[in-house]
Amino acid sequence: MTEETTVTEETQDVAHPMDDLLRMDRMPHIWCPTCGLGTVVTALALALGKSGIPLDDIAVVSGIGCTGRVAGYIKVDSFHTTHGRAIPFATGLHLANPKLKVIVVSGDGDLIAIGGNHFIHAARRNVDITVICVNNFIYAMTGGQVAPTTPLTANASTMPYGNFEPPFNIPHLADSCGAAYVARWSSLHVRRMTTAFAEAIATPGFSLVEVVTPCSTLYARRNRLGTGLDLLKFYHDNCEIQHGADTRSLNIDFQGKITLGKFIERPRPTFLDRLDNWYGQVFGDKYEPYVGDRK
């Protein structure tokens, strides 16, 4: 061991500021070098810490895949579920206990492909959950297969000659389904991302933050884009912030400009707001509001 290593052991005597928010007993995490997921976790933890919501009242739900592991590292009630089903699982948690602030963190394949149906319906119902969609343009954990977000012409293991399927524009999808809050940031924009997480969490209803992150091992390597650091530099040079941009304009082309920003902020009644209001009208005073349950 080098001397530096010894020094490191000593530094661990100082509490890491995330000690109360992360499951440090599980470190190191499974993610590859220069993967952006750890940064997303930090931003989420910071946003949770600043939200003022008691940590005991927060639940994080993930699906499957690299991002699916996020739930396992955040020290709140956390659920690592099945592929694509994080949103309905979260819906159940939230509806059964509206006091919980439920946050879904999962990948683009999980949320938009296999879980696409759940995504659009949760947005339509305006279930009061926050969804963080980490978009690395590829199925990473399974080896770099094409995703519904893979840019045209980008290479994937199941698109070995380049992708010819048009990808989803996630903010537009969420917007058109009625999401109450929609933003997109890159994992380089860590302060903005943290702010966006905090805003999304504070917005009643279905809120979505898409985070463009580097996948160095598969996406970058297959496409000869260098490392995750090179991708961060690419974001640095090619991201444009345009708050309130028309979500139709937010397609991401291979190595093209990426528009970031807060696009939608329009609180509207949530599923449970509507449920209580409607039954209140139907049954009058006889109806005991369900969300009254939270008290």
């Binding site: 061991m1 080098t2 001397e3 530096e4 290593t5 020094v7 490191t8 000593e10 530094t11 661990q12 100082v14 890491h16 500021p17 995330m18 992360l22 440090m24 470190m27 190191p28 995490h29 993610w31 590859c32 070098p33 220069t34 993967c35 952006g36 997921l37 750890g38 940064t39 976790v41 930090t42 931003a43 910071l46 380089l188 924009h189 860590v190 302060r191 903005r192 943290t194 490392t227 995750g228 650091l229 961060l232 530099k233 640095h236 991201c239 912030i241 970031l260």
Partner: protein, 109 residues
């Protein structure tokens, strides 16, 4: 360019770094960096994006075989915590030092 980005690319960094007019009256905070060497996977995010060019990569390897950051200019750290936020490994963090700072001795290699 994203406004929260700390600095232009490294090569041009110092040229644009002008001294604020009230620099003598506003107290610049100082940070102490803590590096958990064996968590590091050598991504260099902290080194690249430190606005004060505080860090450099060690020539040594940690137990997992990665080069890790070292503090090269402990006085320069202003506790902006960008390295801490960007670090995907929760391997570096910053604490604010008191006026009579002890220095970042722990991190000196």
């Amino acid at each position: 360019m994203p406004q929260d980005l700390p600095s232009p690319p490294e090569s041009t960094k110092s040229k644009y770094w002008r001294k604020p007019l009230d620099a003598d009256t506003v107290k610049v905070p100082h940070g102490e960096l803590h590096i958990i060497v064996n968590r590091c996977k050598g991504c260099r995010f902290c080194v690249e994006y430190c606005p004060r060019d505080v860090l450099e990569m060690a020539e040594d390897f940690n137990v997992k075989g990665y080069h890790y950051p070292l503090v090269k200019d402990e006085v320069a750290c202003v506790n902006c915590q960008l390295c801490e936020m960007l670090c995907p490994e929760f391997a570096i963090f910053c604490t604010q030092t008191e006026d009579e700072e002890e220095g970042g001795g722990e991190d000196e290699g």
